[in-house]
């Protein structure tokens, strides 16, 4: 196999059939009646729900739309539009109350206030980012908190380990809360929970342990993001969802997957991750991608660091069994 720009292109209808067989078989193996899918309004859950409907029929797919007060409002609208287009039964549950009961917002805001005493959640928005320009500079991965007022950055601070741990722990309660709701309905309906993690997320650990990673099956974990888009187009997923920039939709200020985690655009993540995983000669990769050796080394180092550091997310808990 040679490395080239179209190396990730799939035989879409064959791949769709393969995944549908997988979904159907997994449901049957477990003697369950169908699936429950979290619908985020993004491309991954749009594709997964489409695949589930094709595999099982819309009556056996239950969608859950789980916004909270900091979610982008269009997420709910896109998810609802797509669920209705698929004709599947769905429910919208605002999880803000659950998060407030756990003091998720308070815990996170207390850390932000310790760094920026003037922080006011009612008028400020926040996001957390990694250094940009992975191709052009060698930076370690450190997180920066950014506080915005009227979309202008008014404060930024590199986060210390204790601070980022605290912010991540509080923020991860969003995904873990969603897991609770998904499993409540799955158990109520005798169904399995279908995950929506794609390959770059899986291999680079961009998901929350027992949050969006707490599922029964992951039918698109073998797909690169560009392949997700390719298959989504076969299903006529709404253009609004296809055009939407990928985002964790975790903070109340818009942050892309690139800013928050990958540090390079998805168009590069996919091909370079594929090249890294399949050990293509670096010279070939550099030539095709128009990168220098140093640039490629920077990306590969970042991949390796994230892969090794998140191995625990992809493993079962160790036991003495």
């Amino acid at each position: 196999m040679t490395f080239h720009h179209d190396v990730l292109k799939l035989d879409a209808s064959k791949e769709i059939d393969r995944i549908c067989c997988f979904i159907s078989r997994q449901v049957d193996l477990r003697k369950k009646d169908g699936v429950v899918v979290g619908l985020s309004g993004g491309i991954d859950s749009a594709l997964v729900s489409s695949l589930c409907v094709k595999a099982l029929g819309k009556e056996r797919v239950f969608g859950l739309i789980l916004p909270e007060r900091e979610s982008n409002p269009i997420s709910k609208e896109y998810a609802k539009e797509h669920a209705e287009a698929l004709g599947l039964e769905y429910e919208i549950v605002d999880i803000t109350r659950t998060l407030k009961a756990f003091d998720s917002y308070k815990k996170r805001d207390a850390i932000i206030n310790s760094l920026f005493p003037d922080y006011n959640p009612s008028k400020h928005k926040i996001k957390v980012t990694l250094p940009k320009d992975l191709l052009f500079r060698d930076y370690f991965n450190f997180f920066t908190l950014r506080v915005l007022e009227d979309d202008k950055e008014i404060f930024s601070s590199r986060l210390r380990k204790g601070d980022i741990n605290g912010i991540v722990a509080a923020t991860d309660t969003k995904q873990r809360t969603r897991m609770i709701y998904l499993y409540y309905h799955a158990e109520r309906l005798n169904r399995i929970v279908c995950g929506t993690t794609n390959l770059p997320e899986m291999m680079q650990g961009f998901f929350v342990k027992y949050g969006d990673g707490g599922v029964d099956i992951e039918p698109i974990a073998h797909l690169y993001k560009t392949q997700v888009y390719q298959l989504a187009r076969e299903f006529s997923v709404p253009q609004s969802i296809i055009d939407r920039p990928p985002s964790p939709d975790t903070f109340n200020s818009q942050v892309s997957d690139e800013e928050f985690y990958f540090r390079i655009p998805y168009s590069l993540v996919d091909l370079l991750l594929f090249a890294w995983r399949n050990d293509f000669p670096k010279e070939d990769v550099c030539n095709v991608m128009d990168l220098t050796n140093d640039q490629l080394d920077r990306v590969y180092r970042d991949f390796n660091t994230k892969y090794r550091g998140t191995q625990h997310l992809r493993e079962l808990p160790p036991t003495l069994l």
Binding site: F140, F142, T305, G309
Partner: protein, 85 residues
């Protein structure tokens, strides 16, 4: 009181041995081995290292100084600390 700069590598190796997941064989890591390439430091590991260096050596590390040239090997850290102490 600041540690003797001659003890820096000893102090660093002890810190790495006690704090990093992949440091079980820290003594076999040479002074110029890259922590990133060896997979010794993960994404929060460097934050831990920065916290440690700032507290232990009473220095302040700026964002633009969080680069491999300053932090990616025992030799690099020692050289970097010499500029700050």
């Amino acid at each position: 009181m600041r540690d003797n700069v001659n003890d820096i590598k000893t102090i660093l190796r002890e810190f790495f041995r006690n704090n990093f997941l992949y440091s079980s064989d820290i003594d076999s890591i040479s002074d110029d081995a890259s922590f990133m390439n060896e997979g010794i430091i993960d994404s929060t590991g460097v934050l831990e290292l920065i916290d440690f260096l700032e507290e232990r050596f009473e220095i302040n590390i700026e964002n633009q100084e969080v680069i491999p040239e300053n932090l990616d090997s025992f030799n690099n850290i020692e050289r970097f600390l010499h500029t700050k102490l």
